[in-house]
Symmetry: C2
Subunit: 205 residues, 2 copies
Amino acid sequence: MNKGLLIVISGPSGAGKGTICKALLEKHPEIKLSVSCTTRSPRQNEVEGINYYFITKEKFKEMIENDEFLEYAEVYDNYYGTPKANVERILNEGNDIILEIDIQGALKVKEKYPEGVFVFIMPPSMEELKNRIKKRGSETEESLIKRFKAAFQEINYVANYNYVIVNDVVEEAVKRLEAIIVAEKCRVDRLKGNYIFLQEGFLND
Amino acid sequence: MNKGLLIVISGPSGAGKGTICKALLEKHPEIKLSVSCTTRSPRQNEVEGINYYFITKEKFKEMIENDEFLEYAEVYDNYYGTPKANVERILNEGNDIILEIDIQGALKVKEKYPEGVFVFIMPPSMEELKNRIKKRGSETEESLIKRFKAAFQEINYVANYNYVIVNDVVEEAVKRLEAIIVAEKCRVDRLKGNYIFLQEGFLND
């Protein structure tokens, strides 16, 4: 059996990666979503094992020491990380798994799992990105400019990815993501083992 | 504007590449089909510029000398070749072009145009390939075995391709080919230039 694909969806904040992942998973319930570990407290409505695995700092540090994360980061005194075991189990069962993750996280995953499919979600234009960041809420002009500049800097990292999807119309973006998944499964470098097998079948025929 | 994709559809005889190309072109009239040059005489119903460009041996040899073919071959005292100028014009206009071609031809095209998308059409099984070759007509058992062995040998070349499509159900095979074309247009290495451009837009904003 083929291993599943590790699909990493990433991009600057405001590009719409969350919306695209949600739409993809609704269309394809067979694709799994990676659930992160965090040391922060659950918010209202957050469910253990669905939104996050909520664990203690001691446990998190132990997992770091045992190299049990594909990637992790410390944000405002809390840890967030992608547990390796879960991802590997799903891939070994032949299922695809999505990681929705920021750019720094994606680059770390790439080091550990270069055979992943790295997809960069790009805002359609600077203007549109500005609008989206604005819409998110009550930010000051200063923090808006700061976030905006950060998003601009982040776009440089697109060169580290395999694919870029411009998120102009969500439905179209999701269709392109679906096509990438289908195409990746046809890539010869993923299938070589199978065709050695097929050839053996040919020889014995 | 982006250049179009050169899509090379190839594979062993009996794998069904002709059927897949035909079905793709019917669904996507915007994709062009490369028309070959040949020195053989037109058969009944064959139309100049649709089935082939029918040219003289002198003209063909002149074109070889001027490096005007992406690939060519001599088969039973006649020449067949893919004229470069036509392919380049279509690609430069931003349109995709399909080359349906044998494996030796595809390998030659890859030398000259490595940025092409090389797709290997694979018969679903040895048994099925046998049936398909049989169905083609009145071959002796000996020539059947010969063709069959040749097809088996050709499968080794799959490693030189980017993608492999197992032609089990034609409609499914065509869908996979469509997905490959969509995905290739999202590949970062094809789009890098555009995002430098986008970033300049971001800077000036």
